[in-house]
């Protein structure tokens, strides 16, 4: 199932170009290296997520960006402005639902969540897919639950060789420079608080 992840440097470069907008006009393509930004200027293009680094192992965000099967997830991360949290030293373990997993949600759900007014709800769901830690699928069998970045616990269930996180099955895993990405077949919805 590892073929679901195809890391392409091109995908990352494209995103950088998109998010920076006027790249061709800027002398320095690494916006984060520019002088201190004004507090009035939008800061969403700043931070570790926007550093050019082709020498290090790709981080969890770059892996998601490079996968053509995770375009919905990447769009959601951007809508929730969570890019910088995903490139932190971590370690971070991201359960990454595929596009098909998002498609399986009731019609209109994704579109609703991507609306600016639902940014907090979206961020909460996405953080429920992130654990501070870095464990292989096998190692995860030791756990009964994981403490997620949104402050809630998610159950871990083992059925034979399969590992389920909040009901979502791990169908592939990619080690990252700052953690690991486990591809899952369902969007994991946090229990209501």
């Amino acid at each position: 199932m590892k073929s679901t992840i195809k890391l392409t440097a091109l995908g990352f470069a494209l995103l950088l170009a998109l998010s920076m907008g006027c790249k061709e006009k800027s002398q320095n393509t690494t916006t984060a290296a520019e002088p201190e930004e004004s507090t009035t200027v939008v800061e969403s293009n700043k931070g570790q997520a926007f550093i050019e680094d082709d020498g290090s192992t790709p981080n969890v965000l770059q892996i998601a960006i490079g996968s053509e099967d995770h375009t919905t997830l990447v769009a959601a991360v951007q809508a929730a402005s969570l890019e910088n949290a995903l490139v932190n030293a971590g370690p971070l373990m991201v359960f990454a639902p595929t596009n098909a997993a998002f498609d399986a949600l009731p019609e209109g759900t994704v579109e609703d969540l991507l609306k600016p007014e639902n940014k907090d709800a979206l961020a909460n769901i996405l953080k429920y897919h992130v654990t501070p830690g870095n464990y292989s699928k096998d190692f995860l069998k030791k756990f009964k639950k994981l403490g997620q970045a949104n402050n809630q616990n998610v159950p871990v269930d083992v059925k034979g060789e399969d590992v389920f996180i909040g009901g979502a099955k791990i169908i592939g895993s990619v080690p990252a420079g700052n953690g690991i990405v486990h591809v899952v077949d369902k969007v994991i919805l946090p229990p209501s608080q």
Binding site: S19, G21, A32, E36, G90, G133, A149
Partner: protein, 635 residues
């Protein structure tokens, strides 16, 4: 599109740059408004900066040998690094804290902890030299240290690692229930600052992460965050995160002080070094201490309680009024704030939620004042501005969040670059903060400066916090790995900063205090050179009669009595380091010549127009030679 286009961006940057530049610009010849003392982390030392300029003034050697001055290499300073494990020339320095009177910074001393081989150091804030280092027995990973009570009654050192007490040979997997966590209260003599272990509280074997004293109404209490209340001894990243809540341990140290003053506690054998440097003799000495007074917390009713706090809390911070105790749950998104008044009320009404090893656990709901739901990730540390606001760092989301005490409402948030650990407001952990700037100390630098290979110095960011919103105004590199820092107004220290050591007060046993006092004395194969130095010569500068196999002690006194005129000393083949000797000071370097010849020595500090002339020779003869010992200047 996420950002505006190039030109517009440039112009707004330009406008801001000029106002930010004005705020941090300290013109040539002008001086900074604040001192900042940043711990050097794995450099083992303490660095002194100016704010707002971010200029580094000095690196003060504390736990690490420092060839720049000869600290830890000179005979006088080697004892400062003695421990029960022998000479340990390095440590991991974490949390500096300035001495206080009535909860306000008094600028007498600054204390800092060595994590690895547990030690606490006291540094004079008039000489900016390390004056004292005390080893902490029964402790390991001395992390919840070195925080001081509001009249500098105690400097407190808590253990991160629980260990067998006393240390002994036992299986690691018998940790649970057998290891102890020692919290050490070290008294500080009011006049001299001299440290002495008053008592060690032997707590359950949790990890004691960080601490802060109560202040104002909570003065007399001390608060420690814990993690690994599971008492796991392996794979802590999984096994120490099983409990939804760990504890903040609340210690009524005044009650325990009273108990030990009335003869309470048990003395147990120990072995730890106490190293004291005397300014008059310019010399450090080591005393090995053989006993320590321990206290079992269950023997002092009403002295120790556990406050349940979510998710392996890291930083433990107390607001300037002493009412709020803040647990920064590093695996949580939220901050938990406990109320001191509610804690006292819960203790009074004995509403407990069970106990752990005989220590009562208070009910979370009874003591909680509020929670700060900031939306950030990975809160670590909080400081205060004295205007009712708190500032918390978030490691994972790389930001500083400003929030209001009492309403818990988030007022502002600003990104840091990148992955911030501690932050510091001058006086920000005292009763009287100077809420003008906050310094954020980041763990990761990446693209902030010109690259220097894989290893980069850590970056710090300076924010102006005088307004409602924080404003990032400056970015500067730091040295080593700054964990925490302490700062104070410049006028507290600058007027009393020492300029010279008076020669007529020099009590060093080998000092030469007069121009004609120099001599060379042989005692078996030890040779003692009583040498003086002044612009621009050494007395003597020609020495003969030294033999291979001799141990030559150069005891050198700087005869200058002029501010900022140190001299240096080094000799070819020296196996230690140079010496940098302040005006009026005496330092000693040992040289063991291994080769016959005539070997030069010289002054390493560019002292004068005739600095290059400040030199001399030592003639080294074969071990069996009969050359007589003689010395001279200008013959």
């Amino acid at each position: 599109m996420l950002i505006s286009c190039g030109q517009q961006n440039q112009s707004s940057n330009g406008a801001l740059s000029s106002s930010a530049a004005e705020k941090v610009y300290v013109a040539p010849g002008e001086q900074d408004e604040y001192y900042a003392f940043l711990s050097g982390g794995y450099s083992g030392n303490l660095t002194v900066y100016g704010l707002p300029s971010g200029r580094m003034f000095k690196e003060i050697p504390v736990f690490s040998q420092f060839p720049t001055s000869g600290y830890g290499y000179s005979e006088e300073t080697k004892p400062m690094l003695n421990t029960s494990h022998g000479f340990v020339p390095w440590d991991d320095a974490h949390h500096p804290d300035i001495s206080q009177t009535n909860g306000e910074l008094d600028g007498r001393w600054i204390f800092i902890n060595g994590n690895n081989t547990p030690r606490i150091a006291r540094i004079s804030l008039s000489t900016f030299e390390t004056e004292e280092i005390i080893e902490v027995p029964n402790s390991a990973g001395n992390h919840s240290s070195s925080f001081i009570t509001e009249n500098t009654e105690y400097v407190v050192a808590g253990t991160r690692f629980a260990v067998p007490v006393p240390q002994r040979d036992m299986p690691i997997n018998e940790y649970k229930g057998n290891f102890k966590g020692a919290l050490t209260f070290i008294s500080v003599a009011p006049e001299t600052g001299e440290m002495d272990i008053k008592f060690q509280l032997l707590m359950p074997g949790f990890n004691y992460d960080l601490s802060h004293p109560g202040r104002g109404k909570s003065h007399g209490w001390f608060f420690f965050t814990t993690y690994n209340t599971e008492e796991a001894n392996s794979l802590l990243e999984v096994n120490a995160s099983q409990n939804d809540k760990d504890f903040i341990a609340a210690i009524n140290w005044k009650k325990i002080e009273e108990y030990v003053n009335n003869g309470g506690g048990t003395k147990i054998p120990a072995n730890y070094a106490h190293n004291v440097y005397e300014e008059e003799t310019h010399t450090g000495t080591t005393t090995m201490k053989k006993e320590v007074l321990t206290v079992d917390p269950t023997k002092v009713p009403g002295a120790v309680y556990f406050l349940p706090t979510p998710k392996s809390p890291h930083g433990c911070d107390v607001d300037p009024t002493g009412e709020y105790i803040i647990g920064n749950g590093k695996l949580s998104a939220d901050l938990t704030v406990h109320s001191f008044d509610k804690m006292l009320a819960a203790i009074e009404s004995e509403k407990f939620d069970g106990e752990a090893y005989g220590i009562p656990i208070l009910k979370f709901e009874d003591i909680m004042a509020g929670q700060v739901k900031s939306g950030g990730l990975g809160p670590l540390h909080t400081e205060f501005d004295g205007k009712g606001n708190a500032y918390t760092t978030f490691f994972i989301s790389s930001e500083v969040v400003k929030w209001k005490l009492g309403t818990w409402e988030v007022i502002d948030r600003k990104p840091t670059y990148y992955s911030v650990g501690h932050l510091m407001i001058p006086g920000g952990n005292s009763r009287k903060p100077f809420g003008k700037y906050v310094v954020a100390m980041n763990k990761i630098t990446k693209d902030r400066y010109l690259p220097t290979g894989p290893e980069m110095e850590h970056s710090a960011q300076l924010y102006d916090i005088s307004g409602d919103k924080m404003e990032l105004i400056y970015d500067f590199p730091t040295h080593g790995e700054p964990h925490y820092a302490a700062g104070c107004p410049a006028e507290l220290l600058a007027p009393k900063s020492k300029k010279i050591y008076r020669l007529d007060e020099n009590k060093h046993p080998y000092a030469v205090t007069t121009a004609d006092g120099s001599k060379v004395v042989r005692d078996g194969n030890e040779v003692h050179v009583y040498m003086s130095m002044i612009r621009s010569h050494f007395t003597p500068d020609n020495i003969e009669g030294i033999k291979v196999g001799d141990k030559v002690y150069f005891h050198i006194t700087n005869h200058e009595q002029d501010f900022d005129v140190p001299h240096g000393f080094t000799i070819l083949g020296q196996n230690t380091s140079e010496l940098l000797i302040m005006p009026g000071q005496t330092k000693t370097s040992v040289w063991e010549p291994k080769q016959v010849g005539v070997w030069p020595f010289y002054c390493t500090d560019f002292c004068s127009a005739l600095h290059q002339e400040m030199q001399g020779y030592v003639r080294v003869s074969p071990a069996n030679s009969n050359i007589e010992l003689k010395w001279s200047l200008g013959e």
